[in-house]
Subunit: 243 residues, 2 copies
């Protein structure tokens, strides 16, 4: 199978997605928050691009059935119930509810995946489970790193590289990588014994530490700690069948 | 000094360029063509974004004083005298003339560098000379990889990594790298014994080979083969003082 990685979502509109499996990665923090929410029993996570869109959707779904969550520059959006810290999403806060999530980098990418055969949410916390689900489909794969403010992000690239490494093992190495996918795998292999440190010392990791969120960075770096596979169905992320 | 690398030009508008040295890299092929033109005795190379702009500029400068060169999808633009192959630019064709150059990826980036203290054109063919010129200025550095159709390109990233490696040696390692600069340096170090092969087997290299331009790819991969330092002055690339 062909495995294509995009270091940022900019070129996603040049890539034909028909018949392909897409994995959207935003390690810090929306992908991790999505996994945490579904683990906590949320009915779904609905990714949206703008805060206004989130508010309208909540009115439509009913205030009891949904919660508003999201950030701008890492900080909770005013009047929203939750920010974008995975620790905020517990059975007490979100069980049985739809989490309407609006973040700077990650959630908007799901809106660009129209036409794909399957769309998953990937993070370090669920990477092995996602690799299992993706490999089972035997389709070409497009791994989209959400990046940070339009640019490359080391944590998403490391996660993409780890995912590709897992896929190569499952497909017994018969994967064809684009240049960026090969680069991501190289980066992962170089840093695999110090993933947490590489992420904490990266630009986004240092920024989140500077606003008091070092704990989130550490939590988001724990490989396979939340083995949930979120899949996009009708615009909502839900647990894959069987989970 | 701080050395920041951008894998693509997308985020250039987020970066304050005041007081900084910018190096624009487009290994395949515009940076190499610019070096070849100046080596051949061109008075200047004027980078432009659109073919129409190029034509108007030629009228303004006078047809005798200038030539039109450029490509779209790797192929010479209709009615232009030259494409974007470094081999086309010889003393016979361009000595004493202004080369108005319009390419898909590289030349437009020069138009985004307003405000920078100095702007150089970097390629593999002149990388050591550029590192020398940049290090001499003792300013913060922004290395802009032109990339390919909006995405990452392995040849520009390798060249950026090599440039940064040279700068680190000249500054005796006292350089602070952003995440992408560290990634580029890692990629270069991993591939340094097989640079030509890595570029020829990359997406852009394979594309150029497919349209009969494998010779250009090989020429553009020869480190330090055209030791000319193009610097931007009033919108024109000319040889740095003393060359």
């Amino acid at each position: 199978v062909n495995v294509q990685l995009l270091l940022t979502p900019h070129t996603l509109d040049h890539v034909g997605l028909e018949g392909k499996t897409v994995v959207v990665i935003d390690v810090l923090r929306s992908s991790t928050t999505i996994c945490a929410s579904l683990l906590a029993g949320a009915r779904s996570v609905i990714p949206v691009t703008e805060p206004g869109e989130a508010g309208e959707l909540r009115v439509k779904l009913g205030a009891d059935a949904s919660v508003l969550a999201g950030e701008r520059k890492g900080v909770k959006i005013e009047n929203f119930q939750f920010g974008n810290s995975p620790t905020e999403f517990t059975p007490e806060t979100v069980a049985g509810k739809n989490v309407i999530l609006c973040t700077t980098n990650g959630t908007r990418v799901f809106g660009l995946t129209a036409g794909a055969a399957s769309v998953f949410c990937g993070a370090l916390v669920n990477v092995t489970e996602v690799a299992e689900a993706v490999a089972g489909l035997q389709q070409d794969v497009v791994v989209v790193c959400s990046g940070r403010e339009g640019g490359f992000s080391i944590e998403d690239t490391l996660c993409g590289g780890l995912l590709i490494d897992r896929l190569a093992v499952k497909h017994r190495q018969s994967v064809i990588l684009n240049d960026a996918a090969a680069l991501a795998r190289l980066l992962y292999r170089e840093r695999k014994d110090s993933l947490q440190e590489a992420i904490a010392q990266g630009e986004h990791g240092l920024y989140l530490e500077s606003i008091g969120l070092a704990g989130d960075v550490e939590l988001c770096s724990r490989v396979d700690s939340i083995p949930v596979v979120p899949v996009l169905k009708d615009g909502r992320l839900v647990k894959i069948d069987g989970q």
